[in-house]
């Protein structure tokens, strides 16, 4: 094996100097490798840490905020949800199937490591233009990878989002979220263990796969990354399933003092993290690590990112029982080291000491860079845009085009490949509402889950766009009748060394933080993925929000489908006309510009509270938030889902129709209700200060739009359903 | 020590959707002369001890019982002596 230099490992000159100072000598190859992975952005957050401090992380519902394997929120009855979202962008760009599959595997391990039974997966995906052959391959590989892994585990994939935009052409985003359910008293923390406790390694044998994965994730994608192919790990979902069952049994019987999954940076990271908690040290003997390949050197063993492995620190005297449980599941556990008191991470090969570094230097000692952001020139250029210079498209044609856009069209081609019903809790399945809803067996309550981020909006205005992502997540939950509790986020950006990108990060995080504060949805976990760029430039800044919420009474859940002939259709929120950043401008005019619609956080909060009151009082029969494609697309989707038409009469106040129909201005919802409930709905809306307008009625088999009584769109529901339902499938044939 | 190469293929007449898909792709890539594609499994097994005949017999039994499903699959065993 050719030895890499510290620069090839991703370390800077000054970082190398710092390591020499810490050790008081030159680091050897193993030590250098350990520092380089622990000091990568992926493990050490060295560029993002100062910005992440801005997130609100506390609240009465928060049991565990950032800093553990995943965040935890209280859902009453002694139960809690454990959840986190994580990126696997770079591995998926190189090998979409395995990259995506192991992304799911990694996030699932984070959840059961906390003692929680994983109950749902979601994913947030971004690809380039779907007409491109390579993009089709990536898309289909990623979806198959997520499906095959999650399906095999028996964890339903219940929601998520997929967007296509040239900004992601060479650098797709694959963010996987997992949610687990745990009894509060069974939450397992990665607390350090008693001196002398053994370290047990269990699961798959160790190979050379994935060495320097964490470093790889912290670099830009280039031709050279193609050559780093061996970095990609192969997933074994069957092994993971056995690990889930065995580890949850260990926790039920209270047999472990600490548990860590082996993710990025493999043994180095998991051992350092379990030992760093109370200033403990650790010794590990690499010769005891079961291998899949011969001739591996300590450096390779310590840095391998072979999947499906767990590190376990048993409670005193429980090793025997732990061995029995692993044996039942056909797993091998091996003691590879023990906890010490000297704060040193010592690596042995047999009796020979091959590396020794202070644990804290690897974790707390990771350098932190506070950079300076600089507003990029495009920011002002994009805002300098006047809609009046664009001709208005025929509204009917525009609506058909939008329904056929892969960003708006039905995602059934995707979710039909995911088992979204296993565990028999899915009370709202993908595609039926703005969020997934799961029952909690034995209780009347339910939980709702959604992921959101409109990368184009964040690009045009990171501050507003960041707020929008949080607001949309919360609004989606409120639309199904769930109170938003907390969020996790996956911050996908380009290189932080570019001041323009750093500015995007600063602004987006500022916007997200403000929205999260006002809406009372703290950030409890997350992941940062930087250097998402290719030679053609950086991706749209894409800070994906994964939000969880609680329904007190699951029987009051609300879907997006129109229900009964004659029901009134209403708009909750203001009639707005801002077209900036809309899918309409992109699809019909090829333009990605404009000012992002302003968002008023208080208004959003009031709307969410109104939605919760409406669903609680059973006053609305359908609810769908206005996002991509605007009001027109929202109406069409509720109609298609309900297999029923509608007739609406809109007031354009003399301005052009496209502005009102296709504006993606936030804080608005299309709902339907029984006419008898109108007064009650009006009263509640007034109470929360939210505007309400009556648009028309449900019924017939056509989507009919009128302008003061004059019909201007007349679309058969069946035809629209075909366009919307088959668009992605047509691309993938 | 013996090393066996076992080829498990779908029986004639059993539809092979994977093979069909690959055939279609090859046609798209302009390999017009492609007539048929069938996809199977290739399994390597190492055996210690015994003679060649008993090893072969053992391998055929393994194939009948587990490695291939006689309802849909055929198999062929090759065996070579290795160090």
């Amino acid at each position: 094996m050719k030895e890499m230099t510290y620069k090839e490992m991703g370390l800077l000159d000054e970082e190398y100097e710092q390591i020499k100072e810490i050790l008081g000598r030159q680091p050897n190859y193993l030590e250098l490798g350990m520092f380089s992975v622990m000091w990568s952005e992926h493990c050490g957050y060295k560029n993002s840490r100062p910005l992440l401090k801005n997130f609100p992380t506390e609240g009465p519902q928060v049991i565990q905020g950032p800093g553990e394997n995943a965040g935890v929120v209280d859902i009453g009855d002694g139960q809690a949800l454990v959840f986190k979202i994580e990126s696997h962008n770079h591995p998926s760009a190189i090998e979409p199937y395995q990259g995506a599959a192991t992304g799911v595997g990694g996030i699932v391990r984070d959840i059961f490591t906390m003692g929680a039974r994983p109950i749902a997966s979601l994913n947030s995906l971004r690809f380039g233009n779907l007409d491109d052959e390579r993009v089709k391959q990536l898309f289909s590989g990623v979806v198959a990878g997520i499906g095959d892994y999650g399906n095999c585990l028996g964890i339903p994939t219940v929601g998520g989002e997929v967007y296509f935009n040239p900004a992601y052409q060479g650098n797709p985003l694959v963010n996987a979220m997992c949610v687990g359910l745990v009894n509060k008293e069974e939450i397992a923390y990665a607390t350090a263990s008693e001196i002398g406790s053994p370290l047990m390694l269990v699961g798959a044998r160790t190979g050379r796969d994935g060495i320097h994965g964490a470093t790889f994730a912290s670099e830009e994608l280039s031709e050279a990354s193609q050559e780093k192919r061996p970095s990609v790990q192969v997933g074994d979902p069957f092994m993971e399933k056995l690990l889930i069952e065995a580890c949850l049994e260990l926790i039920k019987e209270d047999l472990v003092a600490g548990m860590q999954d082996l993710g990025a940076a493999g043994l180095t990271s998991s051992i350092a993290e379990s030992a760093s908690k109370k200033g403990r040290g650790v010794i590990v003997d690499v010769s005891r690590v079961p291998r899949r390949e011969t001739g591996m050197i300590p450096y390779e063993v310590m840095l391998s990112e072979s999947q499906e492995r767990m590190l376990i620190v048993p409670r005193e005297g429980k090793e025997g029982r732990i061995g029995e449980i692993f044996d039942k599941w056909g797993l091998d556990a091996t003691v590879i080291g023990e906890v010490t008191d000297d704060g040193m991470f010592k690596v042995f090969e047999g009796s020979v000491l091959v590396g020794a570094v202070p644990v804290e230097a690897l974790t707390e000692g990771c350098p932190v860079y506070v950079r300076k952001g600089l507003e990029p020139p495009y920011y002002r250029e994009c805002h300098d845009f006047n809609i009046d210079n664009l001709a208005e498209c025929d509204a009917g044609e525009a609506l058909s085009k939008l329904l056929a856009s892969p960003n708006i069209a039905s995602k059934k081609w995707v979710y039909n490949q995911y088992d979204h019903q296993v565990m028999t809790n899915s009370a709202i399945v993908p595609g039926d509402a703005d969020a997934a809803v799961l029952r909690i067996k034995g209780y009347q309550k339910g939980v709702a889950l959604a992921t959101d981020c409109n990368g184009r909006m964040v690009y045009l205005d990171p501050y507003q766009g960041g707020m929008m992502a949080v607001c949309e997540g919360a609004r989606n939950l409120a639309c199904v009748g769930a109170k938003p509790l907390a969020l996790t986020n996956c911050l996908n950006f380009g290189s932080p060394e570019n001041p323009h990108i750093y500015w995007q990060m600063q602004e987006a995080i500022k916007g997200m933080s403000e929205a999260a504060k006002v809406l009372g949805t703290p950030v409890v976990s997350g992941n940062v993925s930087l250097y998402n760029e290719t030679v053609d430039g950086a991706i749209f800044p894409t800070p994906v929000v994964g939000m969880v919420g609680l329904l007190e009474d699951i029987d009051k859940r609300c879907q997006m489908a129109f229900q009964d002939e004659g029901d009134l259709i209403i708009l909750l929120g203001r009639a707005r006309e801002e077209l900036g950043g809309s899918e309409y401008l992109f699809v019909c005019h090829g333009v990605e510009k404009g000012s992002v619609p302003e968002i008023d956080l208080e208004e959003e909060k009031n709307l969410i509270n109104l939605l919760l009151s409406l669903t609680e009082a059973d006053l609305v029969k359908s609810c769908h938030d206005i996002s991509e494609g605007g009001l027109a697309a929202a109406l069409a989707e509720s109609s298609i889902k309900g297999s029923t038409g509608f007739n609406v009469d809109l007031d354009f106040k003399g301005s052009r129709k496209d502005r009102f129909l296709f504006s993606e201005a936030p804080s608005r919802v299309v709902a339907s209700l029984d006419e008898k409930d109108l007064t009650a709905v009006r009263n509640l809306s007034a109470q929360f200060g939210i505007e309400i307008s009556i648009l028309g009625k449900v019924g017939g088999n056509k989507m009919i739009f009128n302008d003061h009584g004059i019909e201007f769109i007349n679309l058969e529901v069946q035809d629209a359903a075909k366009i919307w339902g088959e668009a992605i499938e047509c691309h993938m044939k | 020590m013996f090393k066996a190469n076992i080829f498990v293929t779908l029986k004639n007449g059993v539809l092979d959707p994977q093979g069909e898909a690959v055939k279609k792709s090859l046609k798209v890539l302009d390999y017009g002369q492609v007539e048929e594609v069938r996809i199977g499994k290739y399994i390597e097994v190492w055996l210690e001890g015994g003679d060649r005949d008993s090893a072969l017999k053992e391998l055929e039994e393994m194939s009948d019982r587990l490695l291939a499903n006689p309802v849909i699959e055929d198999y062929r065993v090759e065996i070579v002596e290795v160090e």
């Binding site: 056995l242 028999t424 399945v429 | 539809l15 959707p17 490695l67 499903n69 309802v71």
Partner: protein
């Protein structure tokens, strides 16, 4: 009356079946670990869905050699009720309790969606609370549900009335376009000649409660309970 649910490593619908039998059907039920070697004391066995042994090699191929399987085969031969759902069906095929084999879905993709099934017989232990030609809506979730057998076997399945469920349209037409996976003769579920062993790809346990969007699956478990009660008399 006691139901047993066989748990193989990699089974993942075991808990779903357990929930339905215990909480929805209100019947006693226990898990049976695959390393056991007896099913004494059970009146009906469920082989649940999932990916036993990761479905490596072939679906169901490795599970079929689990220590519990001789007892399952024995139980079936003595007329005990055995239902194999999805992966359970695949295991029954590999074990030879039902004829035929599974191929990959025609689309080569995993498919999870509700499908319509036609009930071809209402006199079996599994369908006696359903009607002949009734159309039920039950979800499928599999990558290999493309049922295959040779022509002679197909003929004997037909002659013996062993094809219990076929994929169809909402109004009961058994046309190829309503077949989600390419299975022979739109087969979704078959039984053995005696009628006490059923294998089906769709998941009745996923639609036995209204909150999950329908309860057509309920009637399969209900039929089994009814049959056991009748026989018990």
């Amino acid at each position: 009356m006691k139901f047993g649910i066989i748990v193989f490593p990699g089974s993942n619908c075991d808990a779903d079946c357990y929930h339905v039998i215990k909480e929805v059907m209100n019947q006693p039920v226990e898990y049976i670990w695959h390393k056991e070697n007896t099913v004494a004391g059970f009146d009906a066995l469920i082989l649940p869905g999932g990916f036993s042994y990761g479905d490596y090699l072939r679906t169901g191929a490795i599970a079929r050699f689990s220590p519990i399987m001789p007892a399952v085969i024995d139980f079936a031969e003595q007329g005990g009720l055995v239902i194999g759902i999805c992966n359970g069906f695949q295991i029954l095929l590999e074990a030879g309790l039902l004829p035929g084999a599974m191929l990959r879905n025609r689309s080569l993709k995993f498919i999870c969606k509700p499908v319509f099934l036609k009930v071809n017989r209402a006199d079996t232990p599994f369908t006696n609370h359903m009607k002949v030609d009734q159309v039920v809506r039950i979800p499928v979730a599999h990558g290999e549900g493309n049922y295959f057998c040779d022509q002679n076997t197909l003929q004997s399945l037909k002659d013996n009335g062993q094809i219990i469920f076929t994929y169809c349209s909402e109004d009961g037409q058994e046309l190829p376009e309503f077949n989600p996976n390419g299975s022979l003769a739109n087969i979704a579920g078959i039984c053995n000649i005696k009628g006490n062993v059923l294998g089906m790809m769709p998941h009745p346990e996923r639609c036995s409660e209204e909150i999950l969007g329908g309860r057509d699956g309920f009637y399969i478990f209900d039929s089994m309970i009814n049959w056991l009660e009748e026989v018990g008399k």
